[in-house]
């Protein structure tokens, strides 16, 4: 059973929503398991696998994938589709280094393509190292599928 279609005004009003922000430190065990999942050998020294730039910003900003689904009033967890990622690295991410993360919703609107309706929401995350230098920036854009309407 699908949820009622959220008002488009509710979706558009998400632009500018800021997450609490906070800090995140990538633990060695976490990077080890993450790297293993990718099929790679551990990286040299304390370098974290760049794929950490998905979950580190989300959790460090004080949110979660579940909350991001809920903010867009997802029909169900399985109704989310990925449009794109844009990941910029200003320095390699490293284990056991605290990163400051700030995040906000930068785009939110309704689209219809080929009879399929979805809400398109973009989340931007900025990471700084302990010295306040930019470490990375990522923009995640998801589709909240609303089915055929």
């Amino acid at each position: 059973m699908s949820r009622p279609l959220p008002p488009v005004e509710d979706i558009r009003a998400l632009v500018g929503h800021r997450f609490p922000g906070g800090h995140y430190t990538i633990a060695h065990w976490e990077n080890f398991l993450l790297t293993e999942c990718t099929g790679s050998e551990p990286l040299p020294g304390d370098i974290a696998h760049p794929v950490a730039l998905f979950h580190v910003p989300i959790l460090g900003a004080g949110t979660s994938i579940g909350e991001m689904f809920a903010l867009g009033q997802a029909d169900s967890d399985a109704s989310i589709g990925i449009e794109s990622y844009d990941w910029e690295f200003f320095q390699p991410l490293r284990e056991e280094h605290p990163y400051r993360i700030d995040a906000e919703i930068t785009e939110a609107d309704r689209r219809e393509e080929n009879g399929r309706m979805f809400d398109r929401i973009a989340f931007r995350f900025d990471l700084e190292d302990a010295d306040g230098k930019p470490a990375a920036r990522t923009t995640i854009t998801w589709h909240y599928n609303r089915g055929k309407r």
């Binding site: 099929g39 790679s40 794109s84």
Partner: protein, 135 residues
Amino acid sequence: MNVKVGDEIPSWDMPSVLPERMRTMAAILRDPNPVHWDRRVVAKMGFGEHTINQGPLGLSYMVNMLHDWTGPESIRRIQMRFPMAVLDGDHIVARGRVTAIREANGERLADCDIWLEREGTEPPLEGSATVKLPD
């Protein structure tokens, strides 16, 4: 490192996408989406008895390809689109091609098209990357 526009990046092979890795990844990401660990949910979506790979994991195969080519500290930017799902059991090959060589901020950079290849389908993931070339 001698690199020119049009060069192919040495490919990186994932012989079989493993469902166990999706489960570990779901725990690390705190990702509640059941498509990554519950085949019954995915079957109802019309993908058959499979689980769907996390987007970051698919992207990571191209990261590994770039690391093998230019080193583990070389990636400056990745822009990725996700037109199709990658499923457990898929044989995936990460590929790439150099589209430009340029200098910025004192670094010699290579812009590249990158994508995942799967036999019988269009690329499930495709995008671009910028890497710092070794001296």
